[in-house]
């Protein structure tokens, strides 16, 4: 067996690392641990987190009000065992604010920006839970990549159940803002007028009947306000596409070993391929390690206690078997030995909500395969 390297080797030459995966698989923690590890190796790294656990955010000194990366104090890191030769920067995404800032940047005047921000179609758009997180996460990534102040950007992705939402939702919102379909409907005079007017086509008449004229009028106002900015959205969307397809951008799949998570992971990989995006590898969290057989250590224990210990092992082994089967399935899907690497992080005893916890995860992620096997065996025994 070759001794493949860890995440560090995987991310050599990479400038943008997108951590995708379905919800509840430890994406935020993994993204933070990757950033910590790369910073430890000397890089200047920024991690963009989405909705981190409160305690983890506190541990990194994150402040949700800033919406800009901020350097994590070196002393804070080294006190918890995270020695960093480079720099670790972190931020928590504020979707609404990111959206507002984008409008402010693109609007021809402050007045126009304010008017857009007051428009209730915009307000709904920018604070709607579905879509706006994905759209603004990508917008933030793009902004940071343009500024070019970091060696590596690590992006955590929004906690959707469906990993694909992240790839599709921004496109949907961009399509809306570009308004190619809608502009066709809302020609200069505005659809509301045309539907009311005598010459309205049956199609527009039906549209008005289904959607209600006020909604059309509001949309018409919104797009009138956006004006030429719709073209900026198109240009930006093209930029973002280039960034995501760049050879220095890598997608990492973060998953757990449960049936549903693996199923989702396989689907995610296929979609990345389909979209022509670069799949760098998978991190599988919470893998139940294969534990050694019970032996004479239980001999001195009361019979009923020993029985319960044996039951705990038996139950644990059920999950270890499940994980092994699912990991084999994932490996087959990814192309086996020749495919991209799969990095396994074992089930740990507690949740990770501090730098020491990140450091533990980092050790597994950045170890070579052989070293990781040793660390896991130590944990299992």
């Amino acid at each position: 067996m070759s001794d493949a390297g860890g995440i560090g080797e995987l991310l050599g030459g990479v400038r943008v690392c997108v951590c995708g995966g379905s919800g509840g698989v430890g994406k935020t923690t993994t993204a933070a641990a990757i950033a910590l590890g790369m910073a430890a190796d000397g890089a200047r790294v920024a991690v963009v987190t989405i909705d981190p656990a409160r305690r983890l955010a506190n541990a990194l000194g994150l402040d949700e009000l800033e919406n800009e990366p901020r350097q994590v104090d070196r002393a804070r890191l080294s006190a918890a065992g995270g020695e960093v030769r480079g720099e670790l920067w972190a931020m928590m995404l504020d979707p609404k604010r990111t959206f507002d800032e984008l409008i402010e940047r693109l609007a021809p005047s402050v007045e126009r920006a304010d008017e857009i921000k007051r428009n209730h179609i915009y307000r709904e758009l920018s604070s709607a839970v579905s879509g706006s997180q994905e759209f603004t996460a990508i917008a933030k990534l793009h902004e940071l990549a343009q500024a070019d102040e970091f060696d590596l950007l690590v992006l955590d992705t929004p906690p959707s159940r469906n990993a694909l939402d992240f790839l599709e939702a921004p496109g949907r919102l961009t399509a809306f803002l570009e308004g190619s379909a809608i502009r066709t409907l809302l020609r200069p005079t505005g659809i509301g007028m045309r539907v009311l007017g005598r010459g309205a086509s049956p199609l527009f008449g039906a549209l008005g009947r289904v959607t209600g004229l006020d909604l059309l009028r509001d949309l018409s106002t919104f797009f009138a306000l956006l004006g030429d900015m719709t073209e900026d959205f198109s240009a930006r969307a093209a930029d973002v596409e280039r960034l995501l397809h760049a050879p220095t951008t890598a997608f990492l799949l973060i998953t757990a070993a449960s049936d549903a998570a693996i199923e989702e992971a396989i689907w995610f990989r296929r979609t990345l391929d389909h979209a022509g995006l670069q799949f760098a590898g998978a991190v599988v969290n919470r893998v139940h390690p294969e534990r050694p057989q019970a032996g004479d250590a239980l001999d001195g224990l009361p019979a009923d206690l020993a029985e319960r210990v044996a039951a705990a092992l038996a139950d644990d082994r059920v999950l270890a078997r499940r994980d092994r089967r699912n990991l084999e399935r994932l490996a087959d899907e990814l192309g086996g030995e020749d495919g991209p690497p799969i990095i396994r992080v074992p089930q740990l005893d507690g949740e990770v909500h501090d730098v020491a916890g990140l450091e533990r995860i980092r050790a597994f992620l950045f170890a070579s395969e052989r070293e990781r096997a040793r660390l896991t065996a130590k944990l299992a025994g």
């Binding site: 049956p202 199609l203 009947r209 534990r291 005893d349 040793r374």
Partner: protein, 319 residues
Amino acid sequence: MTGLLDRRLIFVTGKGGVGKSTVAAALGLRAARAGRRTIVAELARQDGVRRTFAQPGGTFEEVELAEDLYTISVDPESAMEEYLRVKTGALGQALGSSRLFQAFAMATPGMRELLSVGKVYELAQFTRHTGGADPYDLVIVDSPAAGHGIGILRTPRTFAEIARVGPIAGTAQRIAATVSDPGFTAIVAVCVAEEMPVNETLWLRDQLHADGLELGAVFVNALLPARFSDAEARRLRAAHRRALGAGGDRSGSGAADGDGALGAALSEHARARAQREELARLRAGLGRSVPSVELPFLFAESLAEPELRALADVLEDVR
């Protein structure tokens, strides 16, 4: 208060990875056993319930899983096609086949959610709009994970406000009224006993409250058994240390010193303890007004019908 299973519509919400679909399906089984004709509706392209029961079928089909238990996977495109067909006749069909209109409708923020929740509303009607379909006693919605599924609950009202008048506004108003009628609709949450899910569940309760909605119950999923007392755990730790001392090479495959069993027991104990702490925090946060239901962790190689039936047994006390 009306019992949970006496409503006609239950929205099961919760973040991804907490077992929401599993709980929705188990709740469906529980209701079906009580003789209620039940359908579990999955949104956002999910079809896990149907697959768990190893049943064939496509999206937007009402598939029978067991006696009195059905499932459907609702996607917005099919929902729109059906809505236009039923509501607007020939013109609507012309619209539905217009690519321009499709693009317009699907790009409009919230439209996908409105169409999905509109189909759910249709399923819950005493008289179904779709020709010849039988009514259900109970519709259980496996809500999408984004934003805790709260977006889908808000969408009808938002649309009613934005559109103000017209057919969409009318439909949206009727749906919004149904969602906020506690005699008709219950909103429940699924979570696991970890920091983030517990925080999010408490946040969800507050958000719903601010919207004039109430959280009906919280299902705390995947609770590990409390197999050992703390005193026993101390004893196991001591034994573990002795085994480690005697064992030598830890990575050796033939370590016959029993520390694998102790390792499993101690790891489980640590996680079970952390879970109990989070569970206590959740209960304290919820207070008396929102009941919580505990569901055991299932040590199973895969989640199939027998596992769901086991969970439905645990839900037997839920009324």
